[in-house]
């Protein structure tokens, strides 16, 4: 499903020196697999996910998703591939505040291959327990409910790969467990692979497959040396 080889990304620091953030020799995720990556803040986890999602362009290396090479595409191609294959759950949910709950999900679908499907969007929201809040705006929802909208939006397009960046970082323990269970369950239902990054041990413990991001990110090892 996901194959990453020799992926590199560096930024120019304010001092003018080039700092390597991500250097992944090899990383893979099978179809339907659910993997948790452990990593501290500032370790480059989000950059790694952005590179996989094509939000950032890599300096070098390859990211192949479901047979399509993200890193070989131009920006428009990456946008298209992201819309078709990837569902992204952000730590801060990144809901569109001026849009209703239903519109957030519909809009998330509209850039994908299936287009805006209000019926399916409603079903997804019902699936995450928000069928009665379709016309509410994000600010009218609790934090946990907002996270569920983000989950519904990320999964409504039936993506092959779901990327979750500290998805429970803003939730308390109870809501965190619930949200995580929901994400994993819906991914399983849809047959989507899940790559979750977190620094929260309780979250990480719930995954059978776990890896340290420090082990796969060569840039961290070199910085450590």
């Amino acid at each position: 499903m996901l194959a990453v080889t020799q992926l590199q990304k560096s930024f120019v620091s304010p001092e003018g020196t080039r700092v390597e953030i991500v250097k992944v020799e090899s990383f893979a995720l099978a179809v339907g697999a659910q993997l948790a990556l452990r990593g501290e803040s500032g370790s480059g986890k989000t950059t790694f996910l952005h590179l996989i999602a094509g939000i950032l362009a890599a300096d070098g290396g390859q990211v192949v998703i479901d047979g399509a090479e993200m890193t070989a595409l131009g920006e428009a191609g990456r946008d298209r591939l992201r819309a078709e294959k990837i569902g992204y759950i952000f730590q801060t949910f990144n809901l569109l505040q001026g849009y209703t709950v239903l519109e957030n999900v519909v809009l998330g679908m509209s850039f994908g291959p299936r287009g805006a499907d209000r019926k399916h969007a409603k079903e997804m929201l019902e699936r995450v327990g928000l069928g009665h809040r379709l016309d509410h705006f994000p600010a009218q929802l609790s934090t946990g409910q907002q996270q569920r909208v983000a989950v519904a939006r990320a999964l409504a397009n039936r993506p092959k790969l779901v990327l979750a960046d500290e998805p429970t970082g803003n939730l308390d323990h109870k809501h965190s467990r619930e949200a995580l269970a929901l994400i994993r369950e819906v991914c399983r239902e849809n047959g989507a692979a899940l790559l979750l990054v977190s620094h929260d041990e309780e979250v990480l413990r719930q995954f059978e497959l776990r890896r340290d991001f420090a082990d796969i990110n060569g840039a961290l090892k070199e910085a450590g040396k």
Binding site: T46, G98, Y99, L107, F111, R153, E166
Partner: protein, 403 residues
């Protein structure tokens, strides 16, 4: 539905600036339309307002003054001409009809004109349209000493006069309540609206003006002008030669429309200034769209980055911002049509009150769709700069925090 939804929500989120910006566009669009339509319509209306006459004969002087005085009842008469001059031009074989006109008095600011009954009986003030009075009235008769009056529709309405009412004229063309004549005239008819300057005039028998108390007894047979209908257009050039080039005592104003067109030619610079101002206002309005959307870009950056992260292409974002600007332009242009109709109605009312010339509010002109569409296009162009800013929104940097 994606693009309409993004545009709708963005307009709603920035409702105040949307309304203010659309309002400025509405004013610009309405002003441009009003300037254009008043200019073209008044030019057409004034040059076509001949009240059925081809030429005006008067004392030696300005042709424009003669036409304004005798046709539009606006200016003072350039001087008098003798009754014999009227008799002579009337008998000219090229002249179909000649109607004498004597002015010099007013009724509370509305001009009193002395003429013969033939004006109402024989003349068509527009092709196929003859004068008519409202029910219960009649034209004044042929008796030269009759103290009867026929009043134009607009003057009757503004003065509140009807058949059977009486009045005493005031001396001069400007109203001065101290200069009232002794003669009492009775209104015998109210003219049906002609939508010409005639509607603003109070008509009395020619002798009534000529022999009014206080007028110069030596000029009791003089008249102010002769309104002339010609048998053929070429006859006008013949009379022009006779009066204007060979003679030096009288002036023939011919053709009436061309003389008014000359006036518009002389004030063309004023039109151009007005048009320039209207264009500048439109540019400022388009600039306000640019500034309004551009200034709100900081608040929109996150939304745009989220949309990009969801898979929206850069060109989708670019298109959404340009389309939003165009929508603001469309809202403004639609409101601009309402502003135009309001402004135009006001201006047309003033022009009618001052000149009797009626501008048609329902008139169709290509500018009525070209201008609103132009405003939409201009606003869309104004949206390009913020759209470029939106296009360049860095997704990853905007979607903080990172870990």
């Amino acid at each position: 539905m994606t693009l309409p939804l993004i545009i709708y929500r963005s307009l709603r989120q920035h409702a105040l600036s949307t309304v203010v910006t659309a309002g400025s566009i509405a004013l610009a669009c309405g002003l441009m339309l009003c300037v254009w339509m008043v200019k073209t319509q008044s030019q057409t209306a004034f040059t076509q307002t001949t009240t059925g006459f081809d030429a005006v004969l008067g004392a030696r002087g300005s042709k424009l003054q003669l036409v304004l005085n005798a046709i539009f009842h606006l200016e003072a008469s350039p001087g008098n001409l003798a009754w014999a001059d009227y008799e002579m031009v009337k008998r000219h074989p090229a002249v179909k009809a000649a109607i004498p006109l004597a002015v010099g008095d007013n009724l509370r600011g509305y001009r009193i004109a002395g003429t013969l009954p033939e004006l109402f009986e024989k003349v068509e003030y527009a092709p196929g349209k003859k004068f008519a009075v409202a029910a219960g009235g009649k034209f004044f008769g042929a008796a030269p000493d009759a103290r009867e009056a026929v009043i134009g529709a607009f003057a009757a309405q503004k003065l509140g006069l009807k058949v059977g009412d009486t009045f005493k004229p005031f001396h001069g063309l400007a109203f001065d309540e101290k200069n009232q004549h002794e003669e009492v005239f009775t209104i015998v008819g109210v003219l049906l609206p002609t939508n010409t300057p005639i509607d603003r005039v109070v008509w009395i028998p020619l002798k009534g003006v000529q022999t009014m108390s206080g007028h110069d007894a030596k000029a009791a047979t003089d008249i102010s002008a002769v309104l002339i209908q010609l048998r053929t257009p070429s006859a006008g050039f013949m009379l022009d030669m006779m009066y204007n080039k060979q003679g030096n005592r009288l002036t023939l104003a011919y053709p009436v429309g061309a003389i008014i067109a000359e006036l518009f030619g002389k004030i063309a610079w004023f039109d151009q200034v007005l048009t320039l101002v209207a264009y500048l206002v439109a540019l400022v309005a388009a600039g306000s769209v640019l500034a309004s959307i551009y200034n709100s870009m900081s608040a929109r950056r996150r939304d745009l980055a989220i949309l990009r992260a969801l898979g929206a292409r850069r060109r989708t974002i670019f298109g959404a911002v340009v389309a939003e600007a165009a929508c603001i332009g469309a809202l403004g242009a639609a409101a601009g049509l309402a502003v135009y109709y309001g402004l135009f109605a006001g201006v047309a009312g003033v022009i009618r009150a001052q000149t009797g010339v009626v501008l048609d509010l329902g008139a169709r002109h290509p500018v009525l769709w070209i201008c609103p569409l132009g405003m939409v296009a201009l606003c869309a162009i104004g949206g390009v700069v913020p759209a470029i800013k939106a296009y360049r929104t860095p997704v990853a940097e905007t979607l903080a925090p990172t870990s």
